[in-house]
């Protein structure tokens, strides 16, 4: 019925979410001390007595976490203001104001697209009494009582200080878990070896670089013509998909292999698939990892176009690959 009505009355179309037109937070990542996590990731696994947790012991095991945001703002030439806060997240991924909120960091950000040496906004969360308070609050708010891990979050706000109500928000989940099950190991962020690319079956090299980075011997910006279709395929190392043990309600554990998803974004053009990888859909379709990006037509002059690939696992692990392709008319 909804379909029939949509056809009869004209369906609405909105802007393409894979094309970054204006101010957006594209990704947030978190990194931990490799000694603690066995790699960089969003999760810490510690020894804790759930019946009688000892705050001092918990604090002693926790390590600093650095959280960074990736911001894009292609439509404007301006500096931005940013702020990060740590808190228990509500259903809307904003800080639940019924619980304590810690300001993690703030500052000004050079125009993310124009600046030659961009310093992305990052802040470090140090283990202290304030974090312990948030963890306690998170345990109280978590019905599973920390069996799956104590979840909290970092909320990032970015705005133009000169324009009221111009804020955009993003949230990144973090987790502290006990060794439940005993075999539990902290998740690390996923990664890829490189991005395989081709235009009409002819391979091109995709650098890990911003469009405003100065070209050097190590990379050059690949060039395509308007309307060309660029095939993009992430090449994963064998160890990219971790195996982990998820706790069950009966007190046991289930061994699961991570699934990795890829989100594709660009400042212009269009993608055949905006999200690839991931699990099966409801029909059993296993989507391909790669996608196709069609370069925009009708440009008046050669234009460098940013492309981002966000790689994620289901345990809050995130990594980002940013690249640039020059499109000639």
């Amino acid at each position: 019925m909804a379909f029939v009505i949509c056809v009869l009355s004209g369906c609405t179309t909105f802007e393409d979410p894979s094309i970054v037109l204006d101010l957006r937070i594209i990704a947030m990542t978190s990194t931990l001390d490799r000694v603690v996590s066995g790699g960089f990731g969003p999760e810490q696994v510690i020894e804790v007595d759930l019946e009688h947790p000892n705050p001092t012991e918990i604090l002693a095991q926790l390590r600093p976490t650095e959280v960074c945001g990736l911001v894009a703002d292609p439509a404007a030439h301006r500096d931005l203001r940013w702020k990060m806060t740590v808190c228990v997240l509500g259903l809307d991924n904003r800080c639940d104001l019924d619980h304590p909120v810690i300001e993690l960091g703030s500052g000004l950000l050079d125009d993310p697209d124009d600046s030659e040496t961009l310093k992305q906004p990052c802040a470090t969360l140090f283990p202290d009494q304030k974090l312990l308070t948030i963890l306690r609050e998170a345990v109280a708010a978590n019905p599973v009582q920390a069996l799956g891990g104590i979840e909290y979050g970092v909320v990032m706000e970015v705005d133009d200080p000169l324009i009221p109500d111009s804020s955009v928000f993003a949230a990144k989940h973090l987790r502290v878990a006990g060794h439940i099950p005993a075999t539990r190991r902290a998740n690390i962020n996923p990664y890829i070896n490189y991005l395989d690319a081709a235009v009409t079956s002819v391979g091109i090299v995709i650098p890990r670089a911003r469009c405003n980075d100065t070209p050097s011997i190590s990379f050059d910006i690949p060039e395509v013509r308007g309307g060309d279709v660029v095939t993009l395929f992430p090449v994963e190392p064998e160890s990219a998909r971790e195996e982990y043990f998820a706790p069950t309600l009966s007190g046991g554990a289930e061994k699961i292999t991570e699934t990795l998803t890829y989100q594709w974004l660009a400042a212009q053009g269009s993608f055949s698939d905006t999200t690839t990888g991931g699990g099966h859909d409801i029909l059993g379709n296993q989507s391909l990892l790669g996608t196709e990006w069609r370069a925009p037509r009708g440009l008046k002059e050669p234009t460098n176009i940013s492309i981002w690939m966000i790689q994620r696992d289901e345990r809050y692990g995130v990594s980002v690959l940013e690249t640039c392709i020059r499109v000639t008319p």
Binding site: G148, A171, L249, T259, G279, H280, L283, Y316
Partner: protein, 889 residues
Amino acid sequence: MSRWYLAIVLIAIWSPRAIADDVRAPDAPPPAKKVNVVTRQPKLLQAVAPEYPPAALAANKTAKVKVRIKIDAAGLVSAVDVIEKVGDGFDEAAVAAALQYIFEPAEIDGVAAPITVETTINFVIEKVEEPEPPIKKPTTAEPQAGPPNHAGNMLLPVTIEGTVVERGTRRKLGGVIVSVVELGLDAVTAEDGSFKFHGVDAGSYKILASDPKFDRLERPITLAKREAVEVRLWMRPKGGNPYETVVEGDREVLEVTRRTLQRQQLTSVPGTFGDPIRVLQTLPGMQRAPFGLGLLLVRGSNPDDTGIYVDGHEVPSLFHFLGGPSIFNVEMLESIDLYPGGFPARFGRHHGGAVALELRPTKSDGIHGAAKVDFIDTGGYLRAPITKDLSFAVAGRRSYIDAFLGFVLPKPSKGGQRIVTPVYYDYSGRLDYNLHENGRFSLFAIGSSDTLHVLDQNPDSAVSTNLNTSVKFFRIIGSYVRPFGDDLKLTISPAWGRDTLSFSGAQAEASGPFTSIGVVNSNLSYRARIAGRLSKRLYIDTGLDVLSRITSYQALIPIDDSLINTNGVDIPPSKVFRGVSSLGMGLHLDLGVDVTAKLKLVPSLRLDSYVIDGQDRGSVDPRIVGRYQLGKDFTLKAYIGEFSQPPQPEAVDVRFGNPNVGVEHATHFGLGYEWKPDRLWSIDSEIYYVRRRNLVVFSPDIVQNDDGTFSNVNFLNEGRRNSYGFEVLVKREISEHAFGWLSYTFSRSHQRSHPGLPYIATAFDQPHVMNAVASWKPGRGFELGARFQLASGRPDTPVLGATFDADSGEYVPVRGERNSVRIPLFTQLDVRAEKMWLYQTWSLGLYIDIINVTNAVNTEATQYDYRYRESAPVSSFPFLPTLGLRGTW
């Protein structure tokens, strides 16, 4: 010599005296100021013979009843008052008869106008000397008086006989007065339309047939010597359209509010696609369902809270899926009753409202049928006798939307394939065996099927689709009805049914499904009911009601509900088999007590016991209804009662539900009145309050078990919902030219899902709902109708912004207070025009039904872009005409 008596009623004495204060007779002296002049007296076109009160007849009593008759500008009687009461039942009989008179209207200043007249109806008993038999001597076995459809000298042979039938439908018409004008002989046709005149001599005569609902029919006949003639009188309905009314006088009122739709109202209301069940949605107490869906939203309740009963047996749904038409063919239905609250105890296991469909018995009165064709589907109905007492009816319908979809859908890319085939069909059949004084046996079966197959394959994409959805429904209902004495009736009715729902999804290339769900409900129910009048003051409706249901689920789904957190985890599908068995037994009793001539109380009790998956549950629901006749046309009514509803099968499942959830309860309160200012108009109004408690609500909580493991709670009896409102229905009954109603409902409904949480508006809360329905027959077979709907928008939750979830890549909306805003007001005007051609044995109707004739943009929901910055309304139906053809014979 034996004598016999003929009770006759003299009504032809017609010397009316017009009464109108501001009207003067034509010959009166001119007044100082202008007054209106009666330029034509009303003329009696048709009288109806009153029934002689049996007791008075037995006592040999006669009477003269003076009555004052109010005649409207159309010549119809709007009210009758007895001027001097004579008692013995004569007054009531006179009023009942006079109400059926038809006049040529009076004219005042040359214009048809209402007027009041006085006349006398005489009841006399005429002694008739037994005539000498011309041929043979009558025996004592011969009747002393002929039945009403016989006239003339009963001892002489029948020389003129015939049948009165409706033109277009061949329906045999009872109660029509047939006269041999020259002889002054009148007969009133029997139920089978037959009439007989005895002993009419050879000659030429004029036969006159008259009935208020039909055009007067005159037909000349010539009768030769020693000859008998048989005639068939085809009567044309007034206005050119056949219509019929349902006589409700013999239905006992055991409830406060019952809104009944008559057969003509079921198919000719604009904007309902000729769908009888959708017409219910125009009545007071019903909230508007979004997108024209067939949801029954009664007084703030959820759709599942309203029970749907077919001849007393519960059915899960009335509609084909995705907003399709109702499953029931209108020709199979006798009536549809909506009980928005305080309903009788025989309807159990629901605490919202009740919708009762009464099936139409078949008759051995010839072969009849109906067919309908429009853009969406086509269907037909056939009724025929097998023997004199055995008859059957069958009906069926099939859609052909699939044939048109190909033109609307986007074409697949080269080498690809796209098939979308939504198909629905339904069928029903009924067999009736008339056992006469031993009752009636019937067997009714109905089934429907909705299937949707989607196949989408694109060589350029790794993703393909093969979806199969199927919803099927079947019921078979047996019924044996046996009368006991004059008023008591026993009904025994078993039923069996099966409802299946299945979905399977796979890649187009796959050999089997990747995901599937199958739900099968097998129902066995049994009802035994005794209803009728025990004494002059006591009416009883009691019985037993058993429902056994086995629900089984079979699924192939990617779910692992033992994992603490399954977000984003790719779990391969696994097979799930679940089942729930339930047995419900109910005893119901409604006792109608006429405490005084004006006060009626109906105490009721319903006892229910359930065994669901081995666990006992029960409910005791006492209720009382009171009706007090404050005036001749004005009745006050009130009720209070308990209603209960068992939890849905999935809510008590050991794995996915909570086996400990109990029965939901509600208390209904209501107070209202019914006012019938005249024969055609009525006003029914009521204020109500419904308090629902122990509602089953979802809970995300996890609890620790005694053994240290954890479990999902899933469902709890913690919900509460309160509804209150005011309803009014102003209705004009079906008449020769028009029918219609105006319904208005003010309603508020708030709910609380868990203790401590605030009450918020429910998803379907609509403070104001108004429906105006009007249908007019200008004549020559035309019928024009319109429906105007106005309804408050449903509650909505505002979106204040969004947060990018960096771990999923999706935006999460930041919502304001739940259900704190409303979508805009809904207004829609639908119109319908039909032209009917009446032929001797059949009729043909061509209609156009236009939904939203003004093309108003009505918001049903709001859609957002990926980051919730932009929004657009999801609109309801645009201007949508439907052309159709229907015929009956």
